[in-house]
Amino acid sequence: MSSRRRRWPAELPTTQAGLERAFSYFVAGVRLGTLAQMVPAVGIGVQTSPRPAAYLVCWLAAAGASVAGSVVALVRRRPLGTAASVADLALAGLLLVLAPLVLAPEVLLGTWMAYQPAYALSIIITASGVRGLVLWAGGLAGLIACYVVYLGGDVSGPVAPTAVGNILTYVVYGLVCRMFFGYTRRIAADADASRAHAAELARREEERRAQIVMHNGVAVMRLLTESGTDTSRSALIDLAEAELQRMRSYLRGRSPDGPEPGDAETVALAPVVERVCGRFPDLPLDALLDLGAEVRVAAAHADALERALESLLINVRAHARAYSVVVHLDHGPDGWTLTVRDDGVGFDPAATGVGLREVVVGELARHGMRVEIESAFGDGTTVTVTGGPAAAPVRSPRDDLVEAE
């Protein structure tokens, strides 16, 4: 039983539909709870009534409406609709108006023989979930008027405090329940909208990850199919194997980034750059990495940089027709800088493709690196990636001398 109690809330989703279902439980609970309070007094109510048969008919009408309203709400999995609420309010009002005819005057206030005011309160509470504001306000006002009729139109004298208190109970409970229904519905609507937004963002993120992982592989496959000779194809084999590994990891559900950003694991950047450059033996490429030999970055950043550099060099191979490609790594007080320069044909930086936009600029920006692309037709391309903080600078002989002094 206890395990069932633990499961029950989890089965009720926190969506708009789930909330309406919770409201249906609330409605049924209030109505059936009121009915349960009415039952013990029904016998004595009939005995003391000046019109026992009429009293019993009215009581059965109230009980039947309570049960029927509860069943309908539970079956529909939402509170009663407009028509049912109108009927509910009308019945509660009618029972209040008829009450003086079926009740002894001395039981009108403060007894469960006179169940009608309590029944009317249960209707006010459960009808607060009705959508129309006019219906709700009109119903509340009508029941208050009916309650005044119930009191014989006299709310003065010794009954005044109780009468006013009961009327205020109607007003306050009505307002509070109305606000409760309205506010929780807004929360559920916002939650649904947020879920939809999150799902859309997740879809876009997955699409972006797929683009990032697949882009270089697709470019390599295109080069493999376009390259004319076995020699030019063999130069692509290392690159193709690296891309194959990356795509396989992605399809197995592993993050292409490896460890998450912020992971304490760091790697030296120069060997990563050197490894990528080694996959392009057919490019006239010079890798000048001495000045950045001490640079270390988070492993996830290194993975992103590896993909980005590979994408840049694939672009150079495919489009640049360059005589010279320079990959230069440096660091200074403000951080490290990786420069990739080719003297090829250049392009319009405003019209970048997926590779530059997502794999290079977008992906590196997500890892906190800055990318600057400078290119013009006929004047080659320079891509500068900066990040930080810088690793400890390499000591110069002059540093040693200064310390020795």
Binding site: P284, L288, D290, A293, Y323, H328, D379, P397
Partner: protein, 236 residues
């Protein structure tokens, strides 16, 4: 006017075809060894020199590599090395030995011709890996550059930036920058020449002795100056 060029290469195909393939050059002399050039002393604005000049057909003891560069510069020639060599310290040693330029045989013919013309007309062609070494030596105070403009220029050239890009960044004309670069490379080559292998090894974080087998010295006219260490490339 086409510059007069002497070609030294043990491959007869290159000796015979370079003049045909590079119409901007006037090839006045072609030889398989440096010794022939030294003996003939042709009038040439430039000597295009292959680094590796020994083969089964060559007489034993021919100069090659650093010794060949030294022999030619000693006779007053401007030398541009034309080689398949890619090891950066070998290329740096060539510059330190007095070569005014180094061009890779992998370059397209037109590009190589352009570089030869640049060297023949007084320019210098420093390979990018050597520019990188020079930048490290300057940054680590092994070579002193007095001018901030020189540092900026070296900084840009080490990253492969074009004269046009640098001219925009430094607010000077391209021709001015070319002049600066010529002066700077001459100055850096001179500084490089005056460094010992030990100083360079220390600055670059190499192990002692790593450079001895390719760096310039008075005893480099051996037949095995190009010998490679374990794990290095054999590209000759």
């Amino acid at each position: 006017m086409r510059p007069a060029v002497a070609v030294v290469d043990d491959a007869s195909l290159i000796r015979d075809s370079i003049g045909l393939l590079m119409p901007g050059l006037d090839v006045v002399f072609a030889a398989a060894t440096v010794e022939e050039v030294v003996r003939a002393r042709p009038r040439a604005d430039l000597v295009v020199l292959d680094l590796h000049l020994t083969n089964l057909d060559q007489p034993p003891g021919v100069r090659q590599g650093i010794a060949a560069i030294r022999a030619l510069t000693g006779c007053g020639y401007r030398v541009c090395v034309y080689t398949q060599e890619e090891r950066r310290f070998v290329l740096a040693a060539c510059i330190a030995a007095g070569a005014a330029g180094v061009a890779a045989k992998a370059l397209p013919t037109a590009r190589a011709e352009q570089l030869f013309l640049e060297v023949a007309t007084g320019g210098t062609v420093v390979p990018q890996p050597v520019v990188g070494i020079l930048e490290v030596l300057v940054r680590r105070d092994c070579i002193t550059l007095l001018s901030e403009r020189q540092r900026q220029l070296l900084h840009g050239r080490a990253r492969g930036l074009s004269y046009a890009q640098l001219a925009k960044r430094l607010y000077v004309s391209e021709s001015t920058l070319r002049g600066y670069w010529l002066d700077l490379t001459r100055s850096l080559s001179e500084s490089l020449r005056n460094l010992t292998p030990g100083e360079i090894e220390h600055t670059l974080g190499l192990a002692p002795g790593d450079l001895l087998e390719f760096w310039s010295s008075e005893t480099t006219d051996t037949a095995h100056w190009w010998r490679t260490g374990a794990g290095t490339q054999h590209t000759l």
